[in-house]
Amino acid sequence: MSAPLLEIENVSRAFGGVRALDGVSLRVNQGEILCIIGPNGAGKTTLFNIISGVMRPSSGDVRFQGESIVRWPPQRIAAAGIARTYQIARPFVRLCVRDNVAVGALVRERTLERARCAAQEILESVGLAALADRPAGTLTLTQRKRLEVARALALRPKLLLLDEVMAGLTPTEIDAMGDFIEQLQERGIAAIGGVEHVMRVVMRISHRIVVLDFGKKIADGTPAEIAADPRVGEAYFGTSLDGAGASSPTKGQS
Amino acid sequence: MHAALIGQLTIDGLLVGGVYALSALGLNVIFGVMRIVNLAHGEFVIGAALLAAVLFERWHANLFVVLPLAFVLAFGLGALIQRAFLRRLPEDLASAETTSLLMTFGLSYFFVGAWLAFFSGNFRSVPYLTGAWTIGPFSIAQARLVAFVASGIIAVLLAMLLRYTALGRSIRATSQNLQGALACGVDVERVRTLSFALGTAIAAASGCLLILIFTVNPETGANVTLASFAVIALGGLGNYAGTLVGAAVIGLAVSFTGYFATAQVAQAAPYVLFILVLLVRPAGILGKSGA
């Protein structure tokens, strides 16, 4: 019953001399919220690129529900139930917001009409329904972040990869996004979030936290274990994690 | 087939390659700064070539008078085009690349028509340097050598401009990192205008040299655009050293196919090479793959 949903085994990826990922292994269970934290350039986005199939690892294996997916093209991975968002939101700017979401819904729905219906429902759940007919290019940054999530949800994924969905949001918006991610679990969706800062929410919503540093996994455990781990404090925060209760300033988009 | 023949064709090809390299450099300057592939490039080359031919027919105008003249005229024309049209491309319609391609495609036909109106559809050449020097078994056509050397000189001047002048530094900064250039207070609009003007002027200069070797008419511009683009596609977009390699390859292809097949087939040769290479290595021979 509790076979892991996603298994990443010994994945490495180098860019020229840069080892963006170096022998990373981790597992994600059904319905789990896992946060991957790590400083700038730690390899979070690279990991998401590999899981979602837009990039191949130099070595290592990725298994989803027991099947190896490293050689699969992105659309097959998406159809199998892994959805992702992009760190810098990439809406289809000339399509309306509803159609942005409908693209993903087409994986499950036979007709365009039904995909648009499904899209409308999802837009309501993320609070973008009023903007459904607007071209996505006219959205604000916050709205674009939500659209990223809405589009990914349209695939009705079992696993959702959220790459820095909180970066650039205000503290109130961050809380709202945190609540939203917590609710995913009720729908049976596991989520992996790559997060650079915003520790307050990470501590609250995560079931488990993985810490990456220079492409290596340096810690993996419950929020309490991570907070107590001295290596993490050193590598990542320069000090201990005590200060993490207050939300640290969030990084803007790079 | 004699080794001497191969040597001769190689020399011819490399000498022509010098002119292709110059033309491609013009295309590359514009691409570097503006991220625009100027589809009207060949029309500027051909326009200058025809101007040189007409001035030679009428007044036996010397190449070294015509070339600076064409350079200046093209510089002004390029600045005008950038200011009046390219700068005003809408940004929300499609990707900037799409609109700029459509626009320079339109420009290219506008100029084909304009050159037809000015120069008629006749094929022209400049029978200016018709002699050849003989070195051992090889003969070196004066026209080709002069075109090659002049291209080299202009290319070196361009390199010095890029390296040692304030404008050159701005151009390089903008090519490498637009945001950085903006942050450093570079007047990017001005740099764009000057680079487009400069790229156009270099096209014109290469046209004045090309006409020493080839016979052209207003409708041959597309072939020049294809050949120049093939050169930088082979060498990798934005890669200046690669441009020289690409130009040599294209020059050789044209020279060998021109001898063993027909002049017409030689015109298609750059294109065929370009496609073959791109299909194997989409980023060019020397380009970084996956870029």
Binding site: A115 | G106, Y109, A268
Partner: protein, 311 residues
């Protein structure tokens, strides 16, 4: 409203179908040319407008269709329409592998790749004995233009129907999604390669089918006119004028410009090239979306006002 549009459509098609036999040769050829150019613009609009891959060499397939037909008629003694059909089939068959190869290239690479392909086929046609070399091939003279007109009309209507379908279907949405961002489209489950190859095939089969009719209509083919990139310039200018990536754009632009195009191209090639090239440039600055979106915005405004009035 939809009902009224349908009725208007049926009336127009009926007129287009019934009137030509009663027209004189000149008027008939005007009508033929308009329908031909509109259909070619629609075909271009699929790969370049909806899928976002600018092609400056779709004329490749037009020339291929023209030559296939000429060779079938002259050397194979087939009826012209069988040759034209064959031209369409060959174009479609060629477009599949070609699409897989060429659509890996983007932007300028694809655009120039297609342009160069047309140039290369021109060289081939010029140098090959089968195609009659530079002189080209002559078809039996005295042929009737009417069958060619109907052939073109039917294909034009099918192309229009295909565009309507694309605009309203899942396939069309996928196409537009990949036009905006291929990588994102693929992580949202869009099979990018298959989708764009299909679009390319549609954009190839139409000129492939129409080229044969054109050859029969002119009663000859030769390399320069069969692979003339002016056909692409025309499609570009007409589609931008009407509205690129829209259902009505090619029709509006094509109807407005076909006559000018045909007259100028034959008599004043310089003026033709300058005005069409210049038009593309000017439109991109002043009316980049074209006429169709402006008209539909105005209609929507009127409808909104009408709805208010009823309340």
């Amino acid at each position: 409203m939809r009902g009224r549009a349908l009725i208007a459509f049926i009336i127009v098609v009926t007129i287009l179908a019934l009137v030509p036999p009663f027209l004189n040769g000149y008027a008939r050829s005007l009508l033929y040319i308009t329908v031909l150019y509109v259909a070619l613009a629609y075909a271009w609009n699929v790969i370049s407008g909806y899928a976002g891959y600018l092609s400056f060499g779709q004329v490749t397939f037009f020339g291929l269709g023209a030559y296939t037909t000429a060779i079938s008629v002259v050397r194979g003694h087939l009826p012209w329409w069988e040759g034209a059909l064959l031209g369409g089939l060959i174009s479609a068959a060629l477009a599949v592998p070609l699409g897989y190869l060429m659509l890996r290239l983007r932007g300028a690479f694809f655009a120039l790749g297609m342009l160069g392909l047309a140039q290369t086929l021109q060289v081939v046609a010029n140098s090959w004995q089968l195609t009659g070399g530079g002189a080209g091939l002559f078809l039996p003279p005295g042929s009737n233009a009417l069958p060619v007109y109907y052939w073109t009309l039917v294909i034009g209507l099918l192309t229009f129907a295909a565009t309507l379908f694309i605009d309203r279907s899942a396939f069309g949405l996928r196409l537009q999604a990949l036009r905006e961002d291929e990588q994102v489209a693929s992580t949202l489950g869009v099979h990018v390669t298959t989708t764009k190859v299909w679009a390319f095939v549609i954009s190839a089969i139409v000129p492939g089918l129409l080229g044969g009719g054109y050859a029969w209509y002119l009663t000859y083919v030769e390399p320069v006119s069969a692979f003339a990139t002016r056909f692409d310039l025309q499609a570009v200018a007409m589609t931008i004028l009407g509205g690129i990536g829209t259902v009505w754009g090619p029709l509006i632009g094509g109807v407005l410009m076909s006559q000018v195009s045909e007259m100028l191209a034959a008599q004043y090639p310089q003026a033709y090239l300058m005005s069409f090239g210049g038009l593309v440039v000017v439109l991109l600055v002043f009316l980049p979306r074209g006429i169709a979106p402006a008209v539909s915005a105005a209609l929507a405004r009127r409808r909104a006002r009408g709805a208010q009035g009823h309340q």
